[in-house]
């Protein structure tokens, strides 16, 4: 839960110590691996969460995160100090996730690939423990939204994650996605509509089956 709360903080809240981060970036760009490790510690939770949301399973999320940091180290010299580091990091993360999704071609069914143990672990730990009933409802909602997210095209999924989960403004999302604000707005609108329809269909189907 603590993790989820931290991830949902706006970008600026995590870049308050920008001067020290800038120094670390400078040192890492000069080849200082200890400084780069500090950068990884600063940003690993965000990157892992983003890759998991994009790819839907832990194994792919780990591989993708590793690749993200390797690319960050490789292109750190190209990073401009006036840029928002985390926006730049998200840009790399989205690109890596899309590459991996293309390569593995199973992102459409990634919910199915989550093994039962992993799924239980995910929903069990992240869910509030006040009472069992609420926990069960939350767990079902998470499962439902995971399935709904899996049906979205890569770009729509990335846009809605950045906008609705990471809480970035539309313009920032557009910059990360290398697209226009209008396009991002359209992708977000389409994604929300699809998620609503998916949930409606699911709940309707569930209602019919319970009636039978």
């Amino acid at each position: 839960m603590a993790l989820a709360l931290e991830i949902q903080l706006p970008v600026n809240a995590l870049t308050q110590n920008q001067p020290s981060l800038a120094r670390l970036i400078q040192r890492a760009a000069d080849g200082d691996t200890a400084a780069f490790e500090q950068i990884m510690i600063h940003s690993q939770q965000r990157v892992m969460a983003m890759t998991w949301r994009m790819l839907g399973n832990e194994a792919d999320a780990r591989d993708a995160s590793q690749e993200v940091f390797l690319r960050v180290f490789k292109y750190l010299r190209r990073y401009k100090q006036d840029q928002d580091f985390f926006a730049w990091l998200y840009q790399i993360t989205v690109n890596v996730c899309r590459d991996i999704a293309k390569k593995r071609q199973h992102h459409r069914h990634h919910v199915g690939s989550i093994d039962a143990g992993e799924e239980d672990k995910a929903f069990e730990v992240a869910a509030p423990q006040e009472n069992a009933e609420q926990s069960l409802i939350d767990s079902q909602q998470r499962e439902l939204i995971a399935r709904a997210m899996a049906t979205l095209p890569d770009k729509e999924r990335a846009s809605i994650i950045l906008r609705d989960i990471e809480g970035l403004p539309t313009d920032e999302v557009a910059r990360i996605m290398n697209s226009s604000a209008t396009t991002v707005r359209s992708q977000i609108s389409s994604a929300r509509r699809k998620i609503k329809l998916y949930c409606e269909r699911y709940l309707r189907g569930k209602g019919q089956s319970s009636e039978l």
Binding site: A126, Q141, I145
Partner: protein, 248 residues
Amino acid sequence: MNCNQAQELLPLLAGRDLEEKQATLVAAHVESCEECAHSAEEYREAQHMVRLYAPPPFSEEDYAGMRRSVLREIERGPTAFTVPALIGGLFRPRIRWAIATALMLAVSVFAFYFMANRKNDAKQIVINGGDASPSSEEAPSNPPAADQPLPLSAPPHTPLPGKVFKAGGGTSSPNKHNRLMFARVSPRAPIVAQPDTSDVPAFSEKTTRVEIQTKDPNIRIIWFSPRPTKRDAPNKSSRRNQEARSNA
């Protein structure tokens, strides 16, 4: 604002992604329309559910393992080029397209070069023919009248009316099976292309005739190339007899 317009904008209203003016209009419609109000509520619920899409809490071991892997890769340095990696790289989509484009360009350039060379060869023939000296052996003593039409087909051993030059300008005896002749006609006389088929049929069955009209309307290149047949042998002997007779 009608329901259709409102339904289009409801997903954006739920996430506060509309401009103030539009948001006010949609909100006003939602207040007055029960169906749209229900949809707006569903969008809000869906958005709330999206926020629940959280990853499992990764342990510190997971993070440490990932960091170790990254640092190990960094210390290992850029991966050296291996043959399988190089071959595998060739099949990457972008490189595949680049190779295809390069091949297309190469083929186009080669085809263009080939075609251009063929044209040059044709011009070369004309130039060689123009420089050639007249052959006393084959030039007729009496050129035909200027207004006399040229026969379009004639056997290779029959000299064409007008001055005939040997290709290449040499004076050696021409190969009778493959010789190039140029018929020069007086500029006053326009060539009337009327096929003279009176003495040709037997010949035309055995030979291939190629005609090339040069830029000058009065110069036409006619190329006879007989197909090799069994009759070639007697022809050669008769030719030798003819030469022996003329020497005597």
